[in-house]
Symmetry: C2
Subunit: 196 residues, 2 copies
Amino acid sequence: MGRIKTNDTTSRREIIIQKAATLFKEKGFKAASMRELADIVGVEAASLYNHIKNKNELLNIICFDVANRYMQMIAEIETEKKSSLEKIEKLLRFHITGMVKHFDEVYVSDREWKHLEEPYLANLQAQRRAYRKRIAAIIDDGIKKKEIKKIDASTAVLIMLHAVSGIESWHRSKAKINGKELEENMVSILVSGLKK
Amino acid sequence: MGRIKTNDTTSRREIIIQKAATLFKEKGFKAASMRELADIVGVEAASLYNHIKNKNELLNIICFDVANRYMQMIAEIETEKKSSLEKIEKLLRFHITGMVKHFDEVYVSDREWKHLEEPYLANLQAQRRAYRKRIAAIIDDGIKKKEIKKIDASTAVLIMLHAVSGIESWHRSKAKINGKELEENMVSILVSGLKK
DNA sequence: ACTTGTTACTAACAATTGTTAGCATATTTT
DNA sequence: AAAATATGCTAACAATTGTTAGTAACAAGT
């Protein structure tokens, strides 16, 4: 079929990963076949294996890319001198813009992590749990300092994160408001829902 | 292996559907095999076909069961004499308790509808779009009557519905608060996020 | 020009998939 | 007790799956 086109910044491997993310998003990991991915990339299925170890490696990369981005951001936020509510707002905005920008990856990481194999599965789950705990800690801190109303922090985290993942249906819809507006609306509803 | 045990209220068919919902939730529709389902039911794979047409029928039933429950509720709410905010709160509570009670079904319907086949796929999508529109209409009405702050209604709907689907991770977690508490926390955050 | 590593192809594999046909055994109805 | 229906089993099917082996063409470095 010919070889995969690369520009200088993106390796063949990275092209495959990107197209895989899109395909996995559309069909689901299990329903997406390597032959289909190969077709999209413009190559025979076997050729993919010159660039990646196997199908599951693709999912690993996608999921941990996303997880690592989040971990980096929460670490940054924790060190900042901001009120708890400001921290939550910053994180929320990060999630929203991240969802709009890296939609395919985030979507796949959110919905298809089940199909990771050990030890990656256990690993990612632990990372996600830890992540949610760190957000909950910020909220609990805000409650103690009376910036945030007295609620169950982990419930608040759950609402926040899943509300953001709802951007999926915004992404699909035709009559879209623009990304910035979406962000302001979400922040308005969620942040004022927490405020005392 | 022996025949499927039934009590008087639940047919063999219904047992299969229930177990299918649980299996689809755990593995995902595509990754779940009929042989595995048969194992769980306690029967050979071929025997399932005495009760159901095929694998996809199982998914159809699960998805439309859930959708129909929602449609019935929104119709009921629309006729009631309540403020918009009260209507939204009622709907929210219905979704929360529904998620806690029919967890497997709702989860599968939310995450696995992609694997429906036409015409069921188009059908369910249309139904879901219509459902969201009817909720948005209630919110817009509330905005006009100045009970609800001026926000994009479809964004609010999206937040609500996806926040509820976050109960999934509550379901998985060990250190759970109880269902009633969860409900009050969610309502508190989301309803006050809408209030003017 | 020659060598070396990269990338692609064809062909094939073993495993798993959903599903059907044909037949046996229960259970219910007559 | 006989007939009819419901439910189960074994065996097999065609299709699809991820992946590997072996080999040819290409690109880059010398």
